[in-house]
């Protein structure tokens, strides 16, 4: 019996990469939104307990990490385009669409920093952890640019709609948090 083989230059890997890419954008948008939601305001959550929101934030981030590994692997293994392993981590020196590929690498590097700092949270100071964690906004923003620049589906109507919704959601959430903060400071 012969093992099924994957044509490493065929479209399968390419579809998998695109699929994981779009899902990752939506997932990370949800992670950012949940992060903002669980950290804004005081007292128990109104509709859903805060620890649930927080737990969802963490678990979706973990899920996204797995998908990110798949996204990177499918890109590297695909021989149709020359993307090497280290291109996933090094923001410069890429061969295929180097600028936008580099953005993906930057986004990933920031995510690594956030992940590691969260795992080691009890060993580092709270202030350091918070500063690194705030880089999530940068990581997400860079990921959006990566999607728009290198994403095959970013040009299609549904692709554009997806990216727009994600960006709009985060903008609204950040604005809401800024307003809530200002109200707090004014009242005290």
């Amino acid at each position: 019996m012969s093992l099924p083989s994957i044509d490493l230059s065929g479209p399968l890997l390419w579809f998998a990469n695109r699929g994981t890419g779009i899902v990752l954008l939506v997932l990370y948008t949800a992670v950012v939104l949940l992060g903002i939601l669980s950290a804004t305001g005081r007292g128990p959550g109104r509709f859903v307990p805060r620890f649930v929101t927080q737990g969802l934030h963490r678990n979706l981030a973990l899920l996204a990490t797995v998908l990110l590994a798949a996204h990177v692997t499918t890109a590297v293994v695909d021989t149709y385009v020359d993307i090497r392993w280290f291109d996933a981590f090094l923001p410069v020196g890429g061969l295929y669409r180097p600028l936008y590929l580099g953005m993906g690498a930057l986004s990933l590097d920031l995510l690594l920093a956030i992940g590691v700092s969260s795992l080691l949270r009890s060993r580092i100071s709270e202030r350091v952890w918070r500063r690194i964690h705030l880089l999530a906004y940068v990581s997400w923003g860079v990921a959006v640019i990566h999607t728009l620049g290198i994403g095959t589906d970013a040009g299609s109507p549904w692709g554009r709609w997806t990216v727009l919704s994600c960006v709009a959601a985060v903008v609204v959430a950040v604005a809401g948090r800024a307003v809530a903060r200002r109200v707090q400071v004014v009242r005290s």
């Binding site: 669980s38 950290a39 005081r42 128990p44 307990p49 805060r50 620890f51 927080q54 949270r121």
Partner: protein, 66 residues
């Protein structure tokens, strides 16, 4: 070994996750800040640890009482 929970007050921002996770020992005052009452018995130890880990500002700690 008896445990209790202590709050790092300058860090606490009254988010309320601790009271959600350990209502048996923590309830919130009228301003949203935690009121910790009593010691943490062995059956509540897991929840207490979860409450301490869940605090977004790491303002809650499990410490040995006495």
């Amino acid at each position: 070994m008896t445990w209790t929970m202590r709050v790092d007050w300058p860090s606490c921002a009254a988010r309320g996750l601790c009271a959600e996770l350990l209502p048996e020992r923590i309830h919130l005052d009228e301003w949203g800040f935690p009121v910790v009452e009593g010691t943490v018995t062995p059956d509540l130890l897991g929840l207490a640890k979860a409450a301490a880990t869940a605090c977004p500002h790491r303002a809650l700690r499990l410490v040995s009482a006495g």
